[in-house]
Symmetry: C2
Subunit: 340 residues, 2 copies
């Protein structure tokens, strides 16, 4: 998979260099933004592929690379929409271009706009790259079309999730728990778990039962993963997660955790803390105490476990071979036990 | 072509309605943004296709629709980057969502951000739609891959052009004429003329000579078209063009016209007028006088004629049938004689 991505960027950079040096730099920045990811999507795709009898590792790596490029595109555009200039502790594409503009003496607002413009263009290129990558997969035409439809469904769902998430941030009051679960499923679970598992199965020529089961498993695993992610965003140790455990609280991110707390008595105090851009470490500790005492943390944890159990229950199906089932059970266990 | 687009949006809206009412609205807004375009790209694509012996009108309409969706995506993201909220005299996608947010009582800055977020998501959907549309074209796999490569080249070029254009707006001083011509070729001429003509030829099964010739013709025609567009942006009658003839001057748009004037003596006075967001009608008249007296208008007009001549000269080639040549000559004449 790494080799496929390297080859993709190397070819794109050769083409870009012929057009302009600045365009080559954009491609270089885009490539760097793919480094350091955990390759979750290609990993589970290839797991499903091999355990369902697939033997063309090169083909699976190409489909995996398509999902990695899709992921790259979605996080770049998500960061533009969220006005985020950092990702995984480094400047993202927008952040890189904002910093260049600042160094060149532009005003902060102008530099920010410069960064966002570069992010929009780079995200478009990665998005197209994902679909073009499928054209290079050595498979029959019918399978290729099914893979393209799965990738398309993934983009379609995550655009819906992104839109709903944007709507949340502009609407008054906290959204309800079912709305948040729906948004997280659409925005993340489909393209990160459901679609890559299904793509791996389709490429391996698995039967419809296996493809449907992996989709169900992936969706529920993805929701469990996201619930735990939201918990780690508030309660995780920065040394373990590599992410700030203050930024979700400062930004007032709409999560199940917060939606649960909003129904309780602590909300009057909590609502003054959550969403403050300059929340102190002490205030964050107080917010955590309230999220624990109100039962919100336990609620979110239990819900994550329930989704994980539901994910596991789908696997009790003859079309999923034993060894694949074992790996998938490890994946769902890993998803809910992260950061413990 | 219109039927293909209607079918595309109707299917997408059926899918969107299952996910959320707000997502259905976004698709509806996206569809509305495609109405009122001149269908330049599908038009020339189908002209080339039929004159080169193609008979599958449905297939050509689908490739045409792919280019129309690409055009939709590029102008939506271009408008986000330029902070433009209007297009063709109506609110664009960002403008529609900004207005909704304003009506809902959000601050101007928050409403603007809401609009831009919706624009980024909608542009992504149209971009993917363009590539997916090619999967529905009834043709052999080799031709489909060639069409996808042409569409890919078009996106690749226009992303480079957009980046260079963004660079212009952030750099001090006026860019030179060759740089502007290069930017306009990449940003517009490739995807609007070169690529659709080539796609029509490839779909018709034309020989490589014809495909290459149409590419050369399209590129030069596209540059001529853009030069005239820039002239109309300053000297056109609003009643004829349907566009403001003040906004390019107010925005300080980098064009060949301006780059030529920047080399002359009138620049000292002109540079104080061009780029003023609150330029009056009288000041705009003065800027036009200076652009005429400095010779900038004549220079740009002559250059457009030269590119049109160069475009015509490519057609003197045995692989282009006489009737196609006549239509293409009318197209290039139409491109340079607009607004006269």
């Amino acid at each position: 998979m790494e080799g496929v991505l390297r080859e993709f960027f190397s070819q794109a950079k050769l083409r870009a260099a012929k057009l302009s040096p600045s365009y080559l730099s954009l491609w270089d920045t885009l490539e760097k933004s793919t480094v350091g990811g955990k390759r979750v999507r290609p990993g589970i795709l290839m797991t499903a592929y091999h355990h369902l009898g697939g033997t063309n590792t090169e083909a699976a790596a190409r489909v995996g690379a398509a999902f990695e490029l899709l992921h790259t595109a979605l996080i770049i555009h998500d960061d533009v929409i969220d006005l985020d200039f950092m990702r995984r502790g480094h400047e993202n594409v927008s952040g890189t271009y904002r910093a260049l503009a600042q160094t060149a003496g532009q005003t902060p607002e102008s530099a920010r706009h410069r960064g966002m413009s570069a992010g929009i263009i780079a995200g478009d290129l990665a998005l197209i790259g994902a679909f073009r990558m499928l054209d290079t997969v050595d498979t029959d035409q019918q399978t290729r079309l099914r893979l393209a439809a799965i990738l398309d469904d993934a983009v379609f769902a995550s655009a819906a999730g992104e839109l709903i998430d944007v709507d949340f941030s502009f609407s008054l009051g906290a959204p309800q728990i079912p709305e948040i679960l729906d948004m997280e499923r659409l925005k993340t679970a489909v393209y990160s778990f459901e679609a890559p598992l299904q793509a791996g199965a389709v490429l391996a020529g698995a039967d419809d039962d296996a493809v449907a089961t992996l989709g169900d498993f992936g969706r529920d695993t993805g929701i469990a993963y996201q619930l735990v992610d939201d918990l780690l965003g508030v309660f995780g140790k920065e040394s373990a997660t590599g992410k700030s455990n203050l930024s979700d609280l400062r930004e007032g991110k709409r999560t199940v955790l917060i939606a649960h707390a909003a129904q309780g008595e602590s909300w009057e105090e909590l609502s003054h803390l959550i969403g403050c851009p300059d929340l102190t470490a002490e205030e964050a500790d107080r917010a955590r105490e309230l999220l624990i005492s109100s039962g919100a943390r336990d609620y979110a944890r239990t819900l994550a476990e329930e989704y994980a159990d539901r994910a596991r229950s789908h696997l009790d199906c003859p079309s999923i071979p034993g060894p694949l089932r074992q790996v998938l059970e490890r994946i769902v266990a890993g998803a809910v036990n992260r950061g413990r």
